[in-house]
């Protein structure tokens, strides 16, 4: 397993500059838009965007490289089991996502005093809220990735890409339906947090539930991916 992770990390490392560059660009654009609008209520938007896009970008980049020049077939001939290849992929995407979410949150927090100094006062979000927003967006994005990853282990990259778009759409619909109309969840949350809950308690609760759901989905997805990848001809 350690060998598989080391091998996978060797590739992930090369993705960091390009994905971080895109993230930084989006962060700067969002911050500039806020500054031009004098909008101070969306200080976590940059962190939110970076955290949400990183897992998907990492997954598609790695899947694309798998399909390039026969690397997938060559890797299958290395003394690494397919189970370890799959587990390493899940672990590396998760590690990469966490690092990028932390970086996004940090960038956002660092930007608060800078924005304050140019007269755009941050009234809404605190450091804690930025961190929680970043974590939750990363977790929801990771869930989306875990949902479609088995497709990338089962099919060729292009086919998996096409199929995953459909799954993403279903996932987004599910989230919207759940958050907008499925009151029992919000009622349950409010009953746990109490009446007039502290936003930090609510934030922790949401992040905790999202983290739990991500771990469960990740474990199930990893098991399915391992099963389909073992029987795949390379």
């Amino acid at each position: 397993m350690k060998r598989a992770i080391m091998s996978e990390l060797a590739i992930v490392r090369t993705l960091v500059p390009s994905i971080a560059g895109v993230g930084l660009f989006i962060f700067v654009v969002l911050t500039a838009v806020r500054a031009s609008n004098g909008d101070s209520d969306m200080s976590a938007a940059g962190a939110f965007a970076i955290s949400a896009m990183s897992p998907i970008m990492a997954m598609t980049s790695l899947a694309g490289l798998d399909n390039q020049n026969g690397w997938e077939r060559y890797r299958a001939m290395l003394p690494i089991s397919r189970k370890d290849i799959v587990s390493a992929r899940y672990l590396c995407i998760t590690i990469f996502s966490v690092i990028m979410a932390c970086a996004g949150a940090l960038l956002s927090i660092v930007a608060i005093p800078i924005l304050n100094s140019v007269g755009i006062l941050s009234t809404g979000e605190t450091v804690f809220e930025t961190a929680v927003a970043s974590a939750i967006s990363m977790l929801f994005s990771l869930m989306a990735v875990f949902l479609v990853l088995p497709l990338f282990f089962r099919f060729e990259h292009m086919k998996a890409q096409r199929l995953s778009v459909g799954l993403y759409a279903l996932y987004m619909c599910l989230i919207m339906v759940t958050l907008n109309s499925f009151n029992p969840i919000s009622n349950q949350l409010m009953s746990i947090a109490g009446t007039n809950p502290d936003p930090s308690v609510l934030g922790f609760l949401c992040a905790g539930i999202a983290a739990l759901a991500t771990v469960v989905l990740g474990a199930v997805s990893c098991a399915i991916s391992t099963k389909v990848y073992r029987v795949r001809d390379l």
Partner: protein, 293 residues
């Protein structure tokens, strides 16, 4: 001595139009085995089957004497694969990586990886560690793969069309490396190629596959030293083919070329018929396209 690689009766339906059928071959220690055939004949599929990358409908694969198919236990596959080096026709490493980063990618997978050996090969092959994989020429990409394949104490090298597209100097260098690799008599090479001149120089055995089936499996000397091409008239060809077993003929407008298994015997028995030595190319052409007696 134990065969390093052995396929017994391997069959696998790949598509409606192509399948491997009862493929049996062996790679003995100290040998360079040339694996030839036309494009689409089944060379790569056979190698995939040999390395456990595809499931088999029938047959067995033994690596270093142990059963090793796609269904073998993970631990056994890991152990056996650590002793195999692979060189493909295109450089398989992710294009975003630099030559110097390939060691972290591949070396970390092998328990027997030797950093000094790898650095030595990189230096000897003139590869710049700062060059990105996507900027490597075909020859350099092949050398990088070869450096990886030779840096973990592999016992068996498998080259799948590795010489295709290489210039003559690069092919020469590759063949020198392969000859040095098998020199100790313990290690072997399975070299898939349709450039038969490479095999004329290096191969100990030549195995030919066509349409998913093995056509012949012969020591190289039986082809390049014993077999011959007799240049006959129609009447001579008829007489020769009636007398000699295992001939094949290629008919031209005014003559007939006949592949004979032993050109010396033919020269003795039919001194009036000119008979040259056959090359692997000739042999392949006659076996795949020539008419049987």
């Amino acid at each position: 001595m134990q065969n390093l690689l052995e396929l017994k009766g391997v069959s696998r339906r790949v598509s409606g139009r192509f399948s491997l059928r009862d493929v049996t071959l062996a790679v003995e220690p100290g040998q360079i085995v040339g694996f030839v055939g036309a494009n689409g004949a089944g060379k790569t599929t056979t190698i995939r089957a040999a390395l456990g990358l595809i499931k088999l409908d029938a047959g067995e694969v033994h690596l270093f004497g142990q059963h090793c198919g796609a269904d073998a236990p993970d631990e056994l596959q890991r152990h056996l694969r650590s002793r195999v080096g692979l060189v493909l026709d295109t450089c398989p490493f992710p294009s975003t990586l630099k030559v110097g980063q390939i060691e972290a990618l591949v070396g970390s997978a092998y328990p027997t990886w030797d950093r000094e050996t790898f650095a030595g090969f990189i230096n000897r092959f003139g590869l710049d560690p700062k060059t990105k994989v996507k900027d490597l020429s075909r020859g350099m990409g092949m050398k990088l793969q070869l450096a990886c394949a030779l840096s973990h104490n592999a016992k068996l090298l498998v080259l799948d069309e590795a010489t295709a597209g290489l210039d003559p100097m690069a092919r020469e260098e590759l063949l020198d490396e392969l000859l040095a690799f098998v020199a100790d008599g313990q290690r072997s090479v399975l070299l898939s190629s349709h450039i038969t001149s490479d095999l004329d120089r290096a191969a100990d055995r030549v195995i030919c596959i066509d349409n998913g089936s093995i056509v012949f499996d012969l020591p190289r000397e039986d082809i390049t030293d014993r077999a011959g091409i007799a240049h006959c008239t129609q009447a001579q060809a008829a007489e020769l083919m009636a007398c000699v077993e295992g001939t094949r003929a290629a008919r031209h407008a005014y003559s007939v070329d006949v592949l004979v298994p032993n050109h010396r015997e033919v020269l003795e028995a039919f001194p009036e018929i000119p008979c040259d030595r056959a090359t692997i190319d000739d042999y392949l052409r006659f076996m795949l396209k020539g008419a049987l007696k």
